[in-house]
Symmetry: C2
Subunit: 228 residues, 2 copies
């Protein structure tokens, strides 16, 4: 059974990459920088995003929300007057535990690419499968809550290995936890040496300005790049 | 592509149920009560288990640890002198984001069923796919950290619907969070009316004795039941 499944999965991943390239071409044509934002359920992706998009001076941002079902996060983001599109993996996609390139492609007609510089795709909360499916993004960013403990990078290494930035969030809770921040950083470094990390808190705002600057620089990089 | 995938998935789930029944028969023959313990990555499943198995008076417990890779949790449990078996979904199972009945079956020769009354199977940290795969368990228990926020039951309803007990853990952090416990309970009730819930903390021990009693009662129920 498993050999058949592996072959099916390989076929699915090849098809996914082809569609991801088509998404990529559309994003390039519209000059939109795309971030695939990943993390465990309840890591605080949406809370951080709410805080981030409020004051992204000069950068026009849009959000694509991926959830198994419901539109709770999309409603939160929409209240900030940011264009947001919901993808539910439950509707026609079998309740998948991740976004894939085809799901993103199906949502693109509803994303106002001409009116934004930056699209943040908030993936389904999951530390395993989202890492396997490219969706046409420029960069992959992980949100890792300090409350999840020090060992998660060692247990879910692929996710940590495929991202360009790890945001360690909920750090306002650190004084109340038996979690060692340095040990978490060492675990991240063990699976992805020299990956960039930032320590943030959506509640206190710690580190959020640095994260905003990182995003703005990514957008500026594209603006400065010669058209391919 | 998706219709083919749905058919493949249905076939996989049928095959899974057949193997789950074989596991079930082996557990019954050995008079072992089996708990499938599920929850998000970093919800605190292992910490709660460490605290729980330390003093399960009169109940001989074994643990089956499911992880994508590594044996960090198994090492923690083994240090408590509890028989523990590791399943890695990375080794021969394609790095799956959940345990299935076949993975559990492949591990059974290493589980000392004759010497235990209770087997706790700690699933891979994930709020989506583990809910779809029965492994031959008697009961499904979810660990939901209060730090994950109030909305997770609404966003991952299948997981909450398929379990018999929800353990709301890390409640010692409640004074430091902007999370409303009653709202979380209301969300759970909305997707699974009248499901049993307990409020626990692995750090302070709050609620752990009640959870131990719940487990002991489950084991006693089997001992009292007529042999089928």
């Amino acid at each position: 059974m498993h050999r058949t499944r592996v072959r099916v999965v390989e076929g699915v991943l090849d098809a996914n990459d082809t569609i991801a390239q088509a998404n990529r071409a559309d994003f390039d044509a519209a000059d939109v920088t795309v971030v695939n934002l990943m993390g465990a359920p309840g890591a605080g992706k949406t809370s951080l995003l709410e805080r981030t998009v409020r004051d992204l001076a000069g950068v026009r941002v849009g959000v694509l929300e991926g959830d198994v079902q419901g539109s709770y996060d999309a409603t939160r983001i929409a209240s900030l007057h940011v264009p947001v599109t919901q993808i539910n993996t439950d509707s026609g996609f079998g309740g998948e535990c991740h976004l894939d390139a085809n799901m993103v492609r199906s949502a693109l007609p509803s994303v106002p690419l001409a009116d934004i510089d930056l699209l943040v795709i908030e993936n389904v909360g999951n530390l395993v499968c989202p890492a396997e499916f490219r969706v046409g993004e420029d960069v992959r960013v992980m949100v890792a809550a300090i409350t999840e403990g020090e060992d998660k990078p060692l247990k879910y290494p692929l996710m940590y290995r495929t991202c360009e930035l790890v945001l360690i969030t909920k750090v306002d809770l650190l004084p109340h936890l038996e979690v060692d921040r340095e040990e978490l950083l060492a675990s991240i470094d063990a699976v992805h040496p020299d990956v960039e990390t930032m320590v943030v808190s959506a509640r206190t705002g710690q580190g959020v300005e640095e994260w905003r600057r990182w995003l703005a620089e990514r957008v500026a990089l594209r603006a400065a790049a010669p058209v391919a």
